[in-house]
Amino acid sequence: MEVPPQGELLVNATLSDEERRRYSRNLLLPEIGEAGQARLRSGRVVVVGAGGLGSAVLYYLAAAGVGHIGIVDSDAVELSNLQRQILHRVADLGRPKVDSARDAITSLNPHCRVETFAVRLAAADIGAILKECHAVLDASDNFQTRFLVADYCWQAKIPLVSAAVAEFSGQLFVVDPAQGSPCYRCLLPEPPKERELGILGAVAGVMGCLQAIETLKLLLGLASDLVHRLLTFDALACRFHKMARSRAADCPLCGDNPIIGRQAALT
């Protein structure tokens, strides 16, 4: 299984001595090696949301050597973010989160090329922001954005690694149209009412780390069970569960009679 195709990611580029030292623990893994490391370096992903999930996933993607990372977030850093959003520091209060996030990850790994988008994703600009990427990571904090991102990625056939958290719960799944995944709307057909809920910061950390792992597997072409399953985490019970997802016949996006038009999602 090759996701994304070998042709899109340069596998022959050699690593510098500094890269060999930096990534030596990656290179020892037979699943990565020099070819895999070169694939990660030529990978381009976009992370939607530089909050609690983004704080874990951005650090680990940058540290692992993903070469090109886009970060989308329209918010500025607030004091109430620092309980879980460990990308940001007290000195960053009031700064755009995308700037603070970029500084945090490039100071960890200057090889990482970061592009920032200080906007709230909208149908008009999503195509320009999510262009030419190997995976999109949903780490956003609202259903409006989640549905916009999921619909767009489905229509544009971009693999989506979607994590979400609330209170003591976390959820993670991958939608890769090339591997026949059911879409997001098969799980949840329409955006439900937004609720402001508490969140234990470390729960976002757990799910962001798992989201990073699934993304790295996608870039490396390693198979993932989550293209057909939903992983759930209950921190209070300290319990993970994986359940099979299936395409819903009444899904408004990919069902038998879809009501969401191709044009609407792509424009």
């Binding site: 259903f143 719960s169 759930t232």
Partner: protein, 65 residues
Amino acid sequence: MRLTVNGELREVPARTVLDLLQELGLEPKRTVVEKNAVIVDRAAYRDTTLAEGDVLELVGIVGGG
């Protein structure tokens, strides 16, 4: 009847998946249901009956980040 719900054994009066969601105060629209390792079609919550010993996973889809 005795069911296993999200890994815990519970005694419930519910006879259908929809009854169970209502008993537990879960919104059917945002809850994904797995019964005995098979996902239950959303349109079938009312008609899907429960039997002693069924193993259920109820997942309320969340959207925080």
